[in-house]
């Protein structure tokens, strides 16, 4: 009877059209895109190689110093050493370094793309109206859906993994840059205009500095999201800790999945704390706390 939704159009045909269209894109532009992203791949590889080339204890020490410099907490720096040491003990050193490299590059690129988009969004209500639903879709669309087109364009490997990670992780930094700028005290902005500041002067002397703590919160979220995506992206050849989890699933090895999972948690804790501490420092530096 009516339990089936009537087939008003040929959905198979639509799918066919989409697939054909995308195939055309892949054939036409695939190679060009691959070449275009070659520098990114080299950059990523060089970071990963550097992390693996350095003696492990130096990496541990450097990350601990980095953690101490951000948080000013000897306890947390000590914790960082222990967590990284355990990661190595679990036999997860190499994949962990690959994951860190991918996460850092993805976050960096997301910030480079995201902040200008956020600024543009804060300046135009029309652009905000257009971009907001796009960002909503980017964040709600199941992650695996991104993977398909990127794999088709680039083939399995680090570049599609990196791009899928950026697409997934960039929304918070865009949103919070926009929010931070829009939240700048109306009267302060009015004062700046009343003293004859140009739009550029307003942006650089007031809006961005005052939005920085909010932007930092966005960068923090982006970091965490790229870490979580890096794991999933290992399915399309990103390698790293995610690949260990994947192998654990495929081989039904609870231990491998668990240990890799714990290493991921360690990295998340370290980078989350560091990013948060930077956000707070920024706020203090700007004398925004009352």
């Amino acid at each position: 009877m009516d339990s089936n939704f009537p087939e008003l159009i040929e959905s198979r045909e639509i799918r066919g059209t989409i697939d054909d269209g995308f195939n055309w894109v892949v054939i036409e532009f695939g190679e060009a895109l691959e070449i275009a992203f070659l520098p990114v791949l080299r950059f990523l590889n060089s970071i990963e190689n550097a992390l693996l080339w350095l003696p492990w204890y130096l990496v541990v020490l450097l990350l601990a110093l980095f953690a101490y410099q951000a948080t000013r907490s000897a306890k947390f720096a000590g914790g960082t050493i222990v967590m990284l040491f355990l990661t190595g003990l679990f036999g997860m050193w190499e994949p962990a370094m690959a994951t860190i490299a991918l996460m850092l590059v993805a976050t960096l690129l997301a910030v480079i793309v995201g902040i200008p988009l956020g600024i543009a969004m804060s300046r135009s209500n029309v652009f905000q109206g257009i971009l907001t639903p796009v960002l909503d879709i980017m964040q709600t669309l199941p992650i695996f859906v991104y993977l398909i087109p990127f794999v088709m364009l680039f083939g399995p490997g680090k570049i599609p993994a990196l791009l899928a990670t950026i697409v997934f992780a960039v929304p918070p930094v865009i949103r919070l840059t926009n929010l931070g700028i829009r939240q700048v005290d109306r009267e302060v902005m009015e004062a700046v205009v009343a003293f004859g500041a140009t739009p550029r002067q307003r942006l650089f002397s007031v809006q961005i500095p005052l939005a920085l703590p909010t932007i930092m919160a966005g960068i923090n979220q982006t970091t965490m999201m790229s870490l979580s995506m890096v794991v999933i992206a290992s399915m399309i050849g990103a390698g790293g800790l995610g690949y260990q989890v994947l192998q654990g699933i495929q081989r039904l090895e609870v231990s491998r999945g668990l240990l890799a999972g714990i290493a991921i948690v360690f990295l998340a804790v370290i980078f989350d704390r560091v990013a948060q501490a930077y956000g707070r420092k920024m706020q203090q530096h700007l004398h925004l706390q009352k």
Partner: protein
């Protein structure tokens, strides 16, 4: 009022907020009320037919309660808000017609603004805040800093240059706001409820400081306030706004002595009138005697004529030398002439004193005070009765008001 050209003249400004202000402008011009317009079209009438003439070097206060449109009005001067209709001329140039560059130039060099909530840049030091207007205008850094330091010194914040706004009290923050506005050396200062967010004591200090600064700087100041006492203290002229329209424009004394409507009258009812009304407006012209004319008959006649308890005696230059009543004649015997030392010593006040300043003198004399001009020449007297009846708001004393209307008005 029109001898000196206006520094700023506001000509028939209308401001209507809403999706299509132009569409309801004609109805507002025709006199439709604020609530009519709101209910029928969804537009809010912000300002209605406001015209003002502000002279160079004066402090012009725009006063009104919240929602009267005063903050909207002041934002028209530097075009933070654009009018729906009307013009604002600054030194004869219409701000509304200015292009981006010209407007920016106006904001940088000719008009600066002080804000109610200070609107300082929280991430910059006192010095960096004070220098902001100059930096934006592209003035050489060392010169800009030097100018900013001078202004910081002037507002009494020397030594705080490297502090951040959050480390300062409200009053100090507003001094930074003032220094920032003064540093651009613009001739016009817009002050939007600049002291309203401060404690009463600090507010009082700041008012005093502004008056003091103004004596040397002679800026054209447009000052917005909801506080009548502040308006009366600071304003050379005061405009009273109600529901976006002007109720009255005049000097403090004009507004107090002759409120244009009930709204203004209610506003001024609780004012300490003794601080505003000057001796000049309550003086009664009365005859004074020359020393040679003083005799029991002339004194008695004079006292009867004026209804006062003594009559003033002046010298050849019309300067009061004393006051005579019957007691004088108990001190001299009938035949010898009256000499100055026989008289009560003269108690003189000048026309530009406010009543409050005159009261101490009045309290210690039981005869009228002599009112003199700046050269010390006798103009008339002021009695306790006249003083008291002027201090009582006229709404409650219609008869006194009638009597007052007949009295000569000084100056």
């Amino acid at each position: 009022m029109s001898e000196t050209p206006s520094k700023i003249s506001v000509k028939e400004i209308y401001k209507i907020f809403g999706p299509d202000p132009a569409s309801v402008l004609e109805r507002v011009r025709a006199g439709a009320s604020k609530s009519e317009i709101l209910n029928e079209t969804g537009h809010t009438v912000g300002l209605r037919d406001v015209s003002l003439e502000i002279r160079p070097g004066e402090t012009f206060v725009i006063m009104g309660l919240s929602g009267s449109g005063k903050s909207t009005l002041i934002r028209h001067f530097n075009l933070l808000i654009e009018p729906t209709a009307g013009h604002i001329l600054v030194d004869g140039h219409d701000v509304v017609d200015m292009g981006t560059e010209e407007l920016r130039d106006l904001r940088r060099h000719r008009m600066s603004m002080v804000f109610q909530r200070f609107a300082l840049l929280p991430h910059k030091t006192v010095l960096e805040n004070a220098v902001y207007g100059l930096k934006v205008a592209g003035i050489d850094k060392s010169e800009a800093e030097q100018r900013a330091r001078e202004q910081i010194e002037l507002v009494g914040l020397g030594g705080f240059e490297n502090q951040y706004p959050s480390q300062l009290s409200g009053g100090m923050q507003q001094r930074v706001g003032l220094a920032r506005a003064l540093a651009t050396q613009s001739e016009i200062l817009l002050m939007d409820e600049a002291f309203s967010a401060l404690d009463p004591l600090i507010r009082n200090d700041m008012q005093g400081q502004l008056l003091e600064l103004q004596q040397t700087l002679h800026k054209t100041i447009v000052f917005i306030t909801h506080d009548l006492d502040e308006a009366l203290r600071l304003g050379d002229h005061i405009a009273i706004l109600k529901d976006g329209a002007l109720s009255q424009v005049g000097t403090a004394e004009e507004i107090l002595m002759d409120p244009a409507d009930d709204y203004v009258a209610r506003f001024v009812r609780d004012v300490n009138r003794s601080r505003v009304i000057t001796v000049g407006s309550i003086v009664s012209e009365s005859r004074a005697l020359r020393l040679s004319e003083v005799n029991p008959q002339s004194v008695a006649a004079g006292m009867e004529e004026t209804g006062q308890r003594a009559i003033y005696v002046v010298d050849e230059d019309n300067r009061p030398i004393g006051a005579a009543d019957e007691q004088v004649f108990t001190r001299v015997d009938g035949s010898s002439p009256v000499r100055p030392e026989h008289l009560h010593e003269p108690a003189t006040v000048t026309t530009d004193m406010v009543i409050e300043e005159m009261l101490p003198t009045m309290a210690t004399r039981d005869y009228p005070l002599a009112v003199v001009d700046h050269d010390g020449r006798f103009l008339g007297t002021v009695s306790r009765r006249d003083t008291v009846s002027e201090l009582v708001p006229r709404a409650t004393e219609p008869e006194a008001a009638m009597a007052e209307a007949g009295a000569p008005g000084g100056r």
